[in-house]
Symmetry: C2
Subunit: 418 residues, 2 copies
């Protein structure tokens, strides 16, 4: 189950762009790496740096949880001017709910990074993930930053280095999550790179995880912000693992312009598609790597009256504990799917709904049909499960991603902190 | 763990009223019983009848799920005139999402019950619980009604009979849930009886389960409806097991006036307290019997700005998969509690929040304190877990009830239908 394959229906039209390797280091002028800083465990990559050789335009989308981690507040402040040059990220400690010591720790991480990389501290963004409510082990974090910065400055921004960064931001993730692609246009090549982490405490409403996107396109911060927000709505916000929205989640994007290319209207549309595709791929990777997951679930809602209703229904089904356990048990329990749509808050007529499990029609017009239990079972034995819900209310559609709820999820989360 | 003890802090002032035995048969003029109808299993009580010797005033509160089961729609219609004389309830099949056949089955259940008991079919209410999307085995259900009605008419409305009714409405419940009490006033004695079922697919927003309340007080239907709705808000709607709101849930109340007593204003307040206490007890019993639960969780929120915010926070904490698994793992992970409050949608300042696990203060002003892990562990080793959250925003408070999330929950729900 645990792999980074692109999953179901990854049919994004690729037009002039294509997937490449290199993660966040794929675009020109970016260097990222990761080191073992012993922040929580003695032998885990846990400190990552992303550095742009020049100041970049920056954008961010943040958790909607009222409880916001200290680094998140600092990052919001540092991005107010729309520019940034480096990001420092640690796993193992969320630096959340520890009071002034937390604000200070976030600032000291920015300052140390700035000093090592020779940039302004206010151009450094900070992200943390891990246990809430414990003070940061600042001495180890600072040593980690020294080590990472030294390694980074000696490196050439290779794909191996980007990979170490992706490893360093993992917590209960079982695989690193990276993507990169490039757009070839008349003026040359524009690249996009990304990495993300997320496995538990994943739920719609932004947040959901940490994501970092780099590009060498020339994009003003305001445009980058709009693009990022729209892409997140359609990707990271459509993932649900356990319904818990974290205190630390954010997605940051840096555009350093080092390709020298400012996109015209037509190419911007291509770039936009590529940007959305990268976010969707990482969102799917996160769902696939959900804590304890044995199956990846994709819920496609079609024919909704409007996009909000489509999203509500898709997320409600994807987040239902009863649907998730039924999928785990390979039980074609479509009644739970319809019931989850019913309490989503969306407007629709239950008596017009068709439901498919894989290609098997299991309910028509809100009622069960005499489907072959054998075929349904076969569809449910796959690792990738596709649930399709057709509403016949309108034209809107949405897709959500999640995973099943397993014994392993309970085991992992019964003993995360201790 | 599985018992019907009254749980944590059941400190309801009992004034002139007291707990008694007898379930729904405790009030005068009610007869209820249950039989084995082989509806789904060959050897389970699965069909219950509640009958009032005279027409009673009736009230109902129903699921907010857009997908509503067929018997629920019939019951809403039959209660439009505010009166009813009997309730027929089956477990094993929800009679939901099966189209016209479902409406017909619900009607035939009412008609058969009416015929056997010699009442008007429109005075019969119908409730079902079980698997969604399968047609009712009508022949077996009708035979069950015959058997139950015969048994009921020969009985004297004993507590044993009430108990059989409580057994018959169970699905994955492991214990029957009953309560009864009486109010002694100058004019005489007024009694209240109740039974409920609910174990999975339990979540705030009405619904949540099936509940049936009987009383021999003289109460006009309109007053009964207001009382029932208020009591449900404070009890059944504060229970969450898995976040799934069912298609079938309802709470019905019948007041047949057979005590001959119409309560004056002061006694009405006593009666009201008793009514709330009965609903709360059953709500707690349901949480305690949550599918796969090993621990009962009570979340008390104090000092909220308003009652809605207090309820949102209590329910959000109680429903958090991460809090539930931490409790299962006996891990004093208070960060997850604060995070769940944070995404509840309620207004509050996280930096003013104190959190207690049992009597152990684990966070003050939104930050961890140096609590004794040993003491916290001891508090968490109890079967009954009390989480107290103090907000310092205002005077409002609310309590929610739930249970931990265990391997057993996954096992039960991975194989419910098949």
């Amino acid at each position: 189950m645990k792999n980074t394959s692109q999953g179901l229906n990854n049919k994004d039209s690729q037009g002039k762009w294509s997937w490449i390797q290199g993660g966040v280091n794929a675009p020109q002028g970016f260097k990222a790496t990761g080191v073992k800083g012993k922040i929580r465990y003695s032998d885990k990559y846990d400190l990552a740096l992303i550095y742009s050789e020049v100041k970049a335009q920056g954008a961010g989308v943040y958790t909607r949880n009222k409880v916001k981690a200290h680094p998140l507040l600092l990052t919001m402040k540092h991005l107010e001017n729309g520019s940034a040059q480096a990001i420092v990220i640690n796993s193992g400690n969320a630096n959340a709910c520890v009071g002034e010591a937390g604000d200070e720790a976030a600032w000291l991480m920015a300052e140390k990074t700035a000093q090592m990389l020779g940039v302004d501290p206010e151009e450094v963004l900070v992200a943390s993930t891990g246990v809430i409510g414990e003070k940061m082990p600042l001495d180890r974090v600072e040593k980690g930053i020294e080590k990472a910065a030294t390694q980074l400055l000696q490196s050439n921004g290779t794909m191996e280095d980007a990979h170490l960064g992706a490893l360093a931001i993992m917590t209960t993730d079982t695989v690193p999550k990276e993507a990169a692609c490039e757009l070839r246009i008349e003026e040359g090549v524009v690249r996009l790179g990304a990495m993300a982490k997320g496995s538990g405490m994943i739920h719609p409403n932004m947040g959901t995880m940490l994501g970092f996107i780099t590009t060498d396109a020339m994009i003003p911060a305001d445009d980058l912000q709009v693009l990022l927000r729209e892409a997140v709505e359609d990707s990271f916000n459509m993932v649900t693992v356990d319904g818990d929205t974290s205190t630390n989640d954010m997605v940051l994007a840096l555009a350093n312009g080092q390709s020298g290319i400012s996109l015209n209207e037509e190419d911007w549309q291509e770039f936009r598609q590529m940007f959305f595709a990268v976010c969707k791929k990482l969102a799917q990777d996160i769902a696939r790597d959900g804590e304890g997951a044995s199956k990846f679930i994709q819920v496609q809602v079609e024919g909704a009256g409007n996009i909000e209703d489509a999203r509500k229904i898709a997320k409600s089904i994807c987040g239902s504990s009863l649907v998730k356990t039924a999928i785990f048990g390979e039980d074609a329990n479509w009644g739970r799917i319809l019931a989850a749509a019913g309490y989503s808050g969306a407007e629709f007529d239950p008596e017009k709904v068709d439901i498919y499990l894989g290609s098997v029609l299991v309910a028509r017009a809100g009622q069960g049909v005499n489907f072959s239990e054998e075929e349904a079972k076969k569809a449910l034995m796959n690792k990738d499960i596709n649930i399709r819900v057709v509403l016949r209310e309108g034209e809107a559609q949405a897709t959500a991603w999640g995973c099943d709820l397993t014994h392993e999820y309970v085991t992992i989360n019964g003993s995360y902190r201790t």
